[in-house]
C-alpha cells in the first residue's frame, strides 16, 4: 500500500537528502516497525506541524526593547536608520524659544582690572565708582526717563538685597522656583541652578569687606527702539562660605566652615519699557585672566589610542608631513 499523499507540500529537505525512504516512512504490515528518528526529537513526518501552526492566529507582538532603543537614538543614528528604511525625514515641531523679558547678553561688559582681587587698598587699584563716566551717565539719564527715582548711589543696597536673597534661595530650588524667577533673569536662572538637582547646597553670607559699588551702567534697546533694557554692573567684595553635597550627603566641593573672600562683578538688568518690571540679577562677569576654580576631581579612564581609527589618522598625518617635506 503506497504511503498517503498530502496536499501540504512541506517535505523536510534534510530527510529527502538522506535517501532513506523505506526507513523514514512507516511500514504498514510490520507491526513493530521502529520509527527512525535520526538522532533528533522531530516527528518523522512533519506534515501536521504546518497544520498545527495554521491554527494559531498570528498577532504582532510589540518589541518594547527595540522601541526604547530607537527612542534613545542620537539624531544622526535616527537619520541613517530612516534613510535605510526609506522613510521621509520627520517634520520638526520643536520651535526655538524667544524670551523678551530679558536680553541674552551683557551690553559692553565691564573688564575688571587685573589684580583687583588681591587687595584693592594696597594694590593701588582703588575702584571708586563708575569706570567710564560719560557713557554711564548717558545711560543713567536714559534709565531715569523710565524710572524717576533711579540713583547710582542708592542702587548698590538694592542690588545687595537681590543678590543675597537670590543666593539664599538656591538651597531649595524646587521650592523657591517662583520667587527665584522674580529675582533673576531667564538668562541667569539656568546658570545658577545648573546641576543643583538632587544635591544639597549650603551657602552663607558672612560680611561685606567693601561696600558694593556701581562700576558701569548701560541702557539699550532690543528688537525695536521702544523696547528698552537697562543694565547695571555692581562690584561686590564679600566673605562667604559655600559647600555642595551630593545626593548621599557627601561633600563634593567647598566647606561650610571655611570663609572665603569673594570678589564679584554682577550685572543687574531691568526691562525698562515694561511698567511692572523689577531689577533682576542677570549675569556675572568672569574676566579672561581669571584662573579656573578648583572643581571636584574625578577619576577618568585613560583613552585607548591603539585602535584602528587612531592609527589611520596618525598615518594620514605622517603622509601629510611627508608630502609637505617633499614639496
Amino acid at each position: 500500500m503506497p504511503a498517503a499523499t498530502h496536499d501540504i507540500g512541506w517535505v523536510d529537505q534534510a530527510d529527502r537528502a538522506e535517501s532513506k525512504p523505506l526507513l523514514t516512512q512507516p511500514q504498514l504490515g510490520v507491526l513493530w516497525s521502529v520509527q527512525q528518528r535520526n538522532g533528533t526529537n522531530k516527528h518523522y513526518d512533519p506534515k501536521w506541524r504546518k497544520l498545527r501552526a495554521a491554527k494559531v492566529i498570528k498577532i504582532d507582538l510589540p518589541n518594547y526593547q527595540r522601541m526604547r532603543r530607537e527612542a534613545a537614538m542620537s539624531p544622526e543614528e535616527q537619520r541613517s536608520k530612516m534613510k535605510k528604511d526609506g522613510q521621509a525625514p520627520p517634520r520638526s515641531f520643536t520651535e526655538r524659544e524667544i524670551i523678551l523679558a530679558c536680553t541674552g547678553a551683557i551690553m559692553e561688559p565691564y573688564e575688571p582690572p587685573k589684580g583687583d582681587s588681591v587687595l584693592s587698598s594696597l594694590s593701588g587699584l582703588n575702584i571708586k565708582g563708575l569706570s567710564d563716566k560719560g557713557k554711564s551717565m548717558n545711560a543713567v539719564r536714559k534709565i531715569k526717563q523710565y524710572e524717576d527715582d533711579f540713583s547710582v548711589s542708592e542702587f548698590p543696597s538694592l542690588a545687595q538685597e537681590i543678590y543675597l536673597e537670590a543666593h539664599a534661595l538656591l538651597e531649595d530650588v524646587e521650592k523657591n522656583k517662583d520667587r527665584l524667577h522674580d529675582l533673576v533673569t531667564e538668562k541667569a536662572y539656568p546658570d545658577m541652578v545648573w546641576k543643583l538637582k538632587n544635591k544639597t547646597f549650603r551657602w552663607k553670607f558672612v560680611e561685606s569687606l567693601e561696600p558694593a559699588k556701581v562700576v558701569r551702567v548701560r541702557a539699550g534697546n532690543a528688537i525695536s527702539k521702544e523696547n528698552m533694557f537697562g543694565q547695571v554692573t555692581v562690584r561686590f567684595h564679600t566673605q562667604q562660605t559655600l559647600a555642595l553635597y551630593d545626593r548621599f550627603g557627601r561633600l563634593m566641593v567647598g566647606s561650610e566652615h571655611l570663609v572665603k573672600d569673594c570678589l564679584e562683578y554682577v550685572v543687574f538688568e531691568k526691562h525698562l519699557s515694561e511698567e511692572y518690571s523689577e531689577w533682576r540679577l542677570h549675569a556675572k562677569i568672569f574676566p579672561d585672566w581669571m584662573e579656573p576654580k578648583n572643581m571636584p576631581l574625578k577619576t577618568m579612564k585613560k583613552p585607548d589610542f591603539s585602535g584602528e581609527e587612531y592609527q589611520e589618522v596618525e598615518e594620514d598625518e605622517a603622509d601629510d608631513k611627508a608630502v609637505a617635506q617633499t614639496a
Binding site: T200, A243, F248, G249, M252
Partner: protein, 187 residues
C-alpha cells in the same frame, strides 16, 4: 453597589509597589542630609530597571537570584557564561546602571559597586488565540517581564544571605529542638 467602584481619592494617590517601573526610579531622587563629621560616609545607591521584556519570569528568576550580592565585575563575568536571553537582559541593565552611577550619582570608581538587589516581576501580557476542536478558541498568553537592579557602592558583603550556621549554632538549635518536644504522659 461594589465598594471598589467608589473612588474617594484621585488616581494619583494610588499607592505604588516599589517593584514597579513607576516607583523604582524614584529611589534615585532621594536626597540624604549632609553627613555629620566623624560618621561613616553613606555609600552611593542606584536603582535601574528594564521594563517589558519578552521573557519568562520563571527562567529569569535563576539568573536574577544568582548575581545577588556579587560585585558588578563578577556578575558581568558570570552572566557572560550563561547563554540565555535572561543573562543578556541582566547584563544590559547592570551596564546601563553603572554608566548612570558614574555619570550622575557621584560614583568615582565603576568597579566599586555591588548588586544589592536583583529581581524580576510580571509585566504586560499580550493575548493571542488558537483554534481548538469543535470551533473553539483558546487564549495564548504572551508574557513580558520587568527586571530591576539596585547597585550599592563599596565591596560586596561576605554574606549576602544569612551565613550558614556553625557547629555551635547547630548544636544549640538541636538542643532547643529536643527541649521543645512534648513528651506525652510525662511529668
Amino acid at each position: 453597589m461594589q465598594s471598589r467602584l467608589l473612588h474617594t481619592t484621585p488616581v494619583t494617590c494610588r499607592k505604588l509597589l516599589p517593584s514597579t517601573p513607576q516607583f523604582w526610579p524614584q529611589y534615585n531622587d532621594v536626597v540624604y542630609p549632609p553627613r555629620e563629621p566623624g560618621l561613616p560616609l553613606r555609600p552611593a545607591e542606584i536603582t535601574h530597571h528594564v521594563s517589558n521584556v519578552k521573557y519568562s519570569l520563571r527562567k529569569m528568576w535563576y539568573i536574577a537570584a544568582m548575581i545577588r550580592g556579587m560585585s558588578v565585575d563578577e556578575a558581568l563575568k558570570q552572566l557572560s557564561f550563561i547563554e540565555r536571553k535572561g543573562s543578556l537582559i541582566a547584563k544590559e541593565a547592570i551596564e546601563d546602571a553603572i554608566d548612570i552611577a558614574v555619570s550622575s550619582h557621584n560614583v568615582e570608581f565603576r568597579s566599586n559597586l555591588w548588586i544589592a538587589d536583583s529581581f524580576a516581576t510580571k509585566a504586560i501580557r499580550h493575548k493571542g488565540y488558537r483554534k481548538t476542536a469543535l470551533r473553539g478558541y483558546k487564549i495564548i498568553k504572551y508574557d513580558y517581564i520587568h527586571y530591576f537592579v539596585r547597585l550599592r557602592e563599596g565591596r560586596p558583603p561576605k554574606h549576602y544571605f544569612a551565613p550558614p550556621p556553625n557547629g555551635h549554632e547547630k548544636m544549640a538549635e538541636y538542643l532547643q529542638q529536643k527541649r521543645n518536644r512534648r513528651i506525652i504522659k510525662a511529668l
